[in-house]
């Protein structure tokens, strides 16, 4: 459905995308995962024909993102990162307006948005500016689906949304597959990767890896240990000073350490003991997407 080949884009001297390439299959729920400033928005805006790439090619279906922008705008749905519907129009007026400019009406594809729109329908005469964050997202999603696009591009739809709404939102994205709609969604939250069919990890404008969430975790090749102690900052510094690990980083309540060779936990606690650190929990740990992401980072 999407083919991206060697796309590069710079803003003045800053390279936002460096030779990014990957493919998204038809009907997939595909995640573009990376921290803020990784190049996610730039990539989505190029696909949505709002930005021109400096070099490289990208296709949506058989349409080129530069030449066939009008076709793409007709057949792709887009939900930008910032709420960009008319705040001074009501829920229903927004939906009707976007339906009409696509040459359709609310009824034609109502079945598609029904599970989402039903939740905000009680407020259909309320102005969009008066909606809560979660409801705004649902309205924006409804508006981007009202013309039954073949592909849906979502730029960080769950950023700044509460945990319950986020979960609901992902459930709704899951149902798009039943309607044969391909979804490309970007997010800075690593834990959301598990909800996608496949993901691309992106950092500093480079695509690090493209695979299913399970395979990404399987690709983790180092040995991982999680360590917990009283004095966190001192412990991190102590662990970094030992020459046992390739990477040491905080991870929730633990500290994750990776090494190329297996290390006995006893060895670690001995060495820490020499530095005056005791009462430390050391366990071998199972890697997650974030561990693989950090492993891939230079």
């Amino acid at each position: 459905m999407i083919q991206i080949e060697q796309i590069s884009k710079s803003y003045n001297a800053h390279a936002a995308l460096k030779q990014a390439s990957f493919k998204v299959d038809r009907g997939e729920l595909f995640g573009l995962i990376g921290p803020d400033g990784a190049g996610k928005t730039t990539l989505i805006r190029i696909l949505m024909t709002l930005l021109l790439p400096d070099s490289g090619k990208a296709h949506i279906g058989q349409w080129d993102v530069v030449k066939d922008y009008r076709k793409i705008r007709q057949h792709v749905g887009y939900m930008p990162g910032n709420f960009s519907l008319y705040r001074d129009l009501t829920v229903e007026e927004n939906l009707r307006f976007f339906a009409s400019v696509f040459g359709t009406n609310i009824k034609t594809h109502y079945h598609l948005i029904k599970p989402i729109y039903e939740q905000i329908e009680p407020f259909k005469n309320r102005r969009a500016e008066k909606l809560s964050g979660g409801m705004k997202q649902k309205l924006a999603l409804s508006c981007s689906l009202i013309h039954r696009p073949e592909l849906l591009l979502l730029d960080e739809p769950t950023t700044g949304v509460d945990a319950v709404s986020r979960q609901e939102f992902w459930q709704m994205l899951g149902t798009m597959k039943e309607h044969g709609i391909t979804v490309l969604v970007s997010t800075p939250y690593m834990e959301e990767a598990d909800l996608c069919d496949r993901v691309a990890l992106i950092q500093n404008g480079e695509i690090l890896e493209v695979a299913s969430p399970k395979n990404i975790v399987d690709h983790f090749s180092s040995h991982l240990y999680r360590i917990k102690g009283k004095e966190r900052l001192g412990l991190i510094n102590a662990l970094r000073s030992l020459s046992l690990f390739t990477k040491v980083y905080p991870f929730g309540e633990y500290i994750h350490c990776t090494s190329d060779e297996a290390v006995e936990p006893v060895v670690i606690s001995q060495q820490l003991g020499q530095l005056g650190m005791d009462e430390i929990v050391i366990e071998a740990a199972l890697p997650g997407i974030e561990d693989r992401f950090i492993e891939l980072m230079a």
Binding site: M48, N82, Y86, R87, L89, E93, F97
Partner: protein, 373 residues
């Protein structure tokens, strides 16, 4: 075509829901017509004058009584002290001092020559100018009376004299309202065309809604027509309201064809809406658009001949009015309403404003395409 209609419908929904726009649209013409038309009356009445008189001779008294009879002057005091008069001028209790010197009548009758002193407070240059102008005209008519009387005494047969009689064409009663209303109407129409359009287009940028519009099949020209057409309609409506109010409140004459006024308005609004669009391409926020529009409007209005006659500007300044659409529209409005000009009389204005409009819109659209993806 259907898309444009949807856009226009959306635009009107937003305009009618806007907190400021709609009230402004209906209240502005009332306030501007009532306040500006009355305030911008250049006719000066009630000029306070102090007359210094040293002798109570016949001609002295007659001169003083002429000032007393004039509707322009209020005689504040008659005294024989220049110091007192000057103090009053300094304290702004009076606007003008007239001193009738000693031996005024004697000189007048003996040597046919006498002089008076006039002193005016010239802080407000325009008022001082008009004041001395009124004073001179009283003195002139006083002079004429003397000459006529002296001649009657010399030979009782009446002599033929040249009489000048002034007739004010196209505004016979010298009604300032009739002169001002057509100009105020232009300001109203311009404010809507430029301010509201510029702000409205930038609002889409500022709110980010342009992002969502850009990913729909809406073409750029459709978007622009959808944006500009509602304001063209609103501005024409405003003109109609203004003309109606002008007729009801000031009974302004409507000598020429109203169709011609509306026809010219369409060409004029094409230009002004283009300016609004141009301003919007330079701005990222509504505030910026407001500021740039205000800057243009200020210059256009001050240089338009609404308050100061273009003919009294220096030559270089007069040339700048060639590029001032506001000046053309005010001129056209006055010509059609007061003078009953026909299309043939103002066809030059049609062409010039149309040309300005083409140039402005060309750059506006060019810049719009460049600044939006």
């Amino acid at each position: 075509m259907r898309t444009i209609l949807y856009l226009i419908r959306k635009e009107f929904l937003q305009i009618f829901r806007h907190k400021i726009m709609l009230p402004a649209l209906f209240i502005m013409p009332f306030v501007q017509l009532i306040i500006l038309v009355h305030a911008a009356d250049f006719e000066i009445k009630n000029i306070k004058i102090h007359i210094i008189n040293h002798e109570n001779q016949n001609w002295n008294v007659r001169l003083i009584s002429q000032f007393m009879a004039s509707e322009h002057f209020v005689v504040h005091q008659v005294s024989n002290s220049y110091t007192l008069a000057y103090q009053q001028l300094e304290k702004r209790e009076v606007d003008l001092i007239l001193e009738i010197p000693k031996d005024f009548e004697k000189n007048l009758l003996k040597s046919n020559k006498a002089s008076v002193f006039i002193g005016a407070n010239a802080i407000d240059g325009m008022k001082a100018g008009l004041t001395t102008f009124y004073t001179n005209s009283i003195l002139r008519s006083f002079n004429k009376n003397i000459v006529l009387e002296q001649m009657k005494i010399a030979n009782s047969r009446s002599t033929a004299g040249i009489q000048t009689k002034t007739v004010f064409w196209y505004n016979p009663e010298m009604e300032y309202a009739h002169f001002m209303v057509p100009g105020i109407l232009v300001i109203l129409v311009t404010a809507i065309g430029m301010f509201f359009t510029g702000i409205n287009i930038v609002k889409e940028k500022e709110m980010g809604t342009i992002e969502q519009i850009n990913v729909t099949p809406i073409r750029k020209y459709q978007f622009l027509i959808g944006k500009l057409a509602p304001f063209m309609l609103l501005a024409l409506m405003e003109l109609a309201i203004g003309l109606t109010l002008g007729k009801l409140m000031f009974d302004i004459p409507m000598e020429g064809s109203l169709w011609l006024i509306f026809g010219f308005s369409v060409i004029y609004l094409f230009t002004i809406l283009g300016l609004g669009l141009l301003v919007s391409t330079f701005s990222n926020t509504q505030q910026q658009a407001m500021f740039i529009s205000w800057f243009f409007l200020m210059i256009f209005v001050l240089m338009s001949g609404l308050f100061t006659s273009i003919d009294s500007m220096p030559a270089w300044a007069q040339k700048t009015t060639w590029f001032n659409p506001v000046a053309y529209f005010i001129d056209v409005n006055r010509k059609i309403l007061l003078k009953g000009s026909e299309f043939a009389d103002i066809s030059g204005h049609f062409i010039k404003v149309g040309l300005i409009g083409l140039v402005v819109n060309f750059f506006a659209v060019l810049n719009y395409r460049k600044t939006s993806a």
